[in-house]
């Protein structure tokens, strides 16, 4: 039984279609990536999953069941924008939100202290949110979303506005949640995060799901057409090789675009006749490239 499944979900705002028939399933202990440019319909989809807005048609199922108020307690939500009381103490509002989701005050308090320790900021317990930096507010927001051990967590741009150290910290906690059995619906603009975290993805473009499925399978669909060649000295005559469509010089060596994988071998052979090769790799397409390709093609 999938923790969360969407089936042909539509949403219209007036004459504009916000989400045009999206379907996907998130298994237990899985992080599902929802990608798309600004205004592609990611947040609308998430809000429908949260029950904040109702879909015009289609079904959303939670562990096989339809939406109900009782489900609220098993959901965690990390909104894109800060959603905290600026003038209320961290402890007060986190305990409040945890209690609203059915936790006892005592359990919530113990959990909050554990999370604050985990993030290395136990001194924030009695501070007001407005006194904290943006990155630290995001940590508090994160705690608010997960303090009640939700079965399903919805994270909208979870890592925006964080420095690299904190991104790593939150990323490792997200992985822990996943390993603890939570299902996570995750949206971001940062493709490297998706590659690291998500098993399956949907790319939304202008309200339409344009690419969907297992990340590895998706990557296989796209041809490997980029070669990285690192050498000690210069290599000449690369452009003249058959199948090579472009050559870019970098400090470490060369980056070549090829028409198909068969063009790889002559490149390596040519380079080895001229100098030492320290690295040769026919690269998998990055998600970034796939994204730009998919979305770019649809721009027409």
């Amino acid at each position: 039984m999938n923790a969360l499944s969407l089936e042909q979900v539509f949403k219209q705002y007036g004459a504009n279609t916000a989400v045009n028939g999206i379907s996907f399933e998130v298994g237990q202990g899985e992080i599902y990536g929802l990608l798309g440019a600004n205004g592609a319909g990611k947040t609308t989809t998430m809000r429908m999953v949260l029950g904040l807005i109702y879909p015009d048609s289609g079904k959303i199922r939670y562990g096989g069941k339809a939406y109900s108020k009782e489900l609220l307690q098993g959901l965690g939500y990390l909104p894109e924008e800060r959603g905290l009381y600026p003038k209320v103490k961290v402890s007060d509002q986190i305990l409040y939100l945890a209690q609203l989701r059915g936790m006892s005050r005592k359990d919530a308090d113990a959990n909050l202290r554990r999370w604050l320790d985990r993030f290395g900021v136990p001194e924030y317990y009695g501070k007001k949110v407005e006194e904290l930096s943006k990155g630290n507010q995001q940590k508090i927001q994160f705690i608010a979303a997960v303090i009640h051990h939700p079965r399903i967590v919805i994270m909208d741009e979870a890592f925006s506005g964080l420095d690299p150290v904190n991104v790593e910290l939150l990323k490792s906690t997200v992985k822990e949640l996943r390993d603890g059995g939570s299902s996570i619906l995750f949206s971001t603009h940062r493709m490297e995060h998706v590659e690291e975290l998500c098993r399956n993805i949907t790319i939304l473009h202008k309200s339409n799901p344009v690419l969907q499925g297992n990340l590895k399978a998706i990557k296989k669909q796209f041809p490997r057409e980029r070669v990285v060649l690192a050498t000690d000295g210069d290599v000449s005559g690369l452009e003249a090789l058959g199948g090579v469509t472009g050559v870019t010089r970098h400090e470490y060596g060369y980056e070549l675009m090829i028409a198909d994988e068969a063009a790889g071998r002559p490149i390596l052979e040519l380079a080895m006749t001229q100098t030492n090769v320290t690295r040769f790799e026919i690269m998998e397409p990055t998600l970034n490239e796939i994204f730009i390709k998919t979305v770019g093609e649809n721009h027409e």
Binding site: R47, I53, K69, E81, L84, Y85, D92, Y96, L100, A145
Partner: protein, 443 residues
Amino acid sequence: MNNGFWTVVGFTAKNKLRGKAFLVTTIIIAVIMSIGINLPYIISQFSGEGKPTAVGYLDSAADKAQSQLFTSTRIVSLLDAYYEAQEKPELKFVPIADAGSADANEQALKQAVSDDLVDGYIGFAPDPESGFPAVTYKSESLMETKVSQSLSTALQAVKMEAVIDSGGISDELKAVLTKPIKLDTVQISTGEGAGSIGNGKSSEQQGMDMATVYVIIFMLFMAIMISGQMIASEITAEKSSRVMEILITSVAPLKAMFGKILGMFLVVLAQLAAYIVVIVVNMTLPQNADTLSGYGISLDLIDPALLVYAILFFLTGFFLFATLFAAVGSIVSRTEDLGQAVLPITMLSLAGFYICIFSGLNSPGSMLIKVSSFIPFFSPYAMVVRLGLSDPPLWQVWLSIAILLASILACGWLSAKIYRAGVLMYGKKPSMKELFKAMRAYR
């Protein structure tokens, strides 16, 4: 599943009660109230009401020699006796020596005023027609009504006493003659009314009813305005800080809204309780109780039935307006826009308040007040006025309460729908059409 509701109530109330701004405001208002109640006493301490006003008169030797009934010196000595018999003499008389000529006398008297020996002086001129000299009181003030009224009463009494004395009337008759006539106005009830009137109230009790009604509708008005604004601005703040999105994914919107309203109600109740304690304590302080009872104000005179009805209308009135304020708060996205958005509700509350203050207190039986006491947004004010100052039939009172309860349900239902739709609408203030459409989306 009532958990969520009470959690919201607790959080709302606790946060507000803890806030510095709230504490400071409450203390400031309590201090102002204490000063207000103590003011009559404080004024009586400072204005030298205990000290008699000094009035000068010409101590003329020539006048003394005359043997008429009313010479100036005889009148003054009678006045002296009259004022000395008082518990707190209002006036005292200071002789100014005769300087010889009329001009010099006038000069001497004026000098006495400018030297602050006396506050003013009296002069006597023969008035053969009335048989009593014409009296003038001269002072630097334009209209010394207090002194002149006192003088006039005193002179009348003095004249009468002197005449009676010379006429040889018995003391018994004299007592009958000088005793003031007693006239009491008592309000009666002609039907089975629910008002506090009808049990034969004295004019003091009526005056106290008037004051109580005034205080009650004023407090209701203040409570509605202040708490309504607080409810609306808290909801707007939750919306603009986007806590709302987390909030209504945790708890049903209806619970969130009514939890907020009830939480704020507890805060208002606590605040009002504090004010009432301040009022009662201050009014029962010995020095104030004396001074205030001098003005006919005493807590014993308040009718308990009126208080019970007042509390009933206070509760219904509060919740009726609170739901509306909550709905408005949920429509607006930014606190800056809130003032304009709540204006219609403010006007509604203000209208009810002013109808009662300007029309109700003077003529509680007027048609305007009668009609208003059945209109939901005016009735909390108007019915309290009718109950306190006239005698509405019991069925009318309960009809008014029933109408109020029905409108609370209707407004609560409507507000909950607006709230549910409004909390997720960001950006500019939505038009009626947009709002209606959004409301229909959430059944």
